[in-house]
Amino acid sequence: MKKYSKYILTGGLVLIAVLLLVLQFWRYLNNPWTRDGTVQADIIQVTPRVSGQVVKLPIRDNQFVKAGELLFQIDPRTYEAALAEANAQYEEAIDTYNAQRENILAYEARLRESSAAIDQAQSNINALEAEITKARAEYKRQQELLPQRATSVRSLQAAQAEFESSVEYRAGAEARLAKSLASLEQSQAELAQARAQLGALGIDNPGVRAALALVRQAELNLEYTTVTAPVSGYVTNLDFRFGDQAVANQPALSIVDVSTYRVEGYFRETFIRRISPGDQAIVTLMAYPYRPLHGYVESIGWGIAQRDGTAGNDLLPRVDPTFEWIRLAQRIPVRVHLTEIPTSVELRVGFTSSVLVMSGSASAEEDDTAQTP
């Protein structure tokens, strides 16, 4: 027995060692861990929308700003002048509109006048018609009376002249009627033209609307001279001074959005299949090694940039030769949302961190929540 006790003791130790090794390896597989992680946050590049000199810059570098707080003020005077000009143009447009409306009223009056002239010409013609009938009857009577010597040749000639002149008068009246009709048509055409020029009435009038839009644009431009913080966060690396020229659409300063702090852990592709969104994660920052932060996997990246396959000379794919024996696993970013950040920990973008993910903890937690009533 004593002879074998040596082997039993040694074998026992070896067995324990192998068991521990297997157990540890199993734990390692099920709790992927990476030293390659960084703290990230959304960086907002604050960009002025109008150009001008900065006349007010109340913020300092690395300062916290709340959403809506004034960041800087661009000289508003030119934009105030532009607004005044736009307002004047708006008033002018309204005046033009009113003048055009008056014009239309004038054309309408002219139209009525033409109608009245037509009526008058018509009644004139009717009156002349009666005159002609009367003159013709008189002329006829004189013609009948002359052979009986009951009238003189002179009276007959006078009646003839009367008749002929009334016929002429009627021709003149008809010409006036035709002229009045033409003038009516002209007035109608002029009215239609004036109406077309004026366009829609009231607030829908295009000229008025265009002027109003210009006023609104000038108002907005004036508003844009005050640049406020779009989000709450830290002003970072402020390279912008009082008196500098702010240029439209060119970023002036950046703000680190505090509500978007997260940790990106770059895990080897061999571990990715063991990680799923919702898994518990523990983050250790190099800056705070003894303060592990808790969080969960928010999402896993769907792609990383690769060098192989990009177009090289003659648009042929550039492929680097690789050494067959040693391959490096690619790393995929895993986004970890931190659930709780102690007040003593101040996160800064770019901090190095290590990330431990507990595989399968997402479904386990779901079960827990399902069980609790």
């Binding site: 040694t10 130790l13 540890q24 431990l356």
Partner: protein, 70 residues
Amino acid sequence: MEKIPHDVSVGGFYLSPILVSGLLGVLAALLTARLLDRFRLSRYFANPPVVIISLSVIYSVFFGVVFVGI
């Protein structure tokens, strides 16, 4: 309480916790072997080198889990 894995900083070098716990385990195993020899306990083992290797693994896992965090 299990330790959370994190880099171990030694004079500005950030070492992997596995490396640190492995080194500690090997040192502890060597020390144990010296003591076993000293107190003439090595004779109870069939193959001392295998015992040292096994002890290294056991100590490494122990230090790793309890002190360093692997």
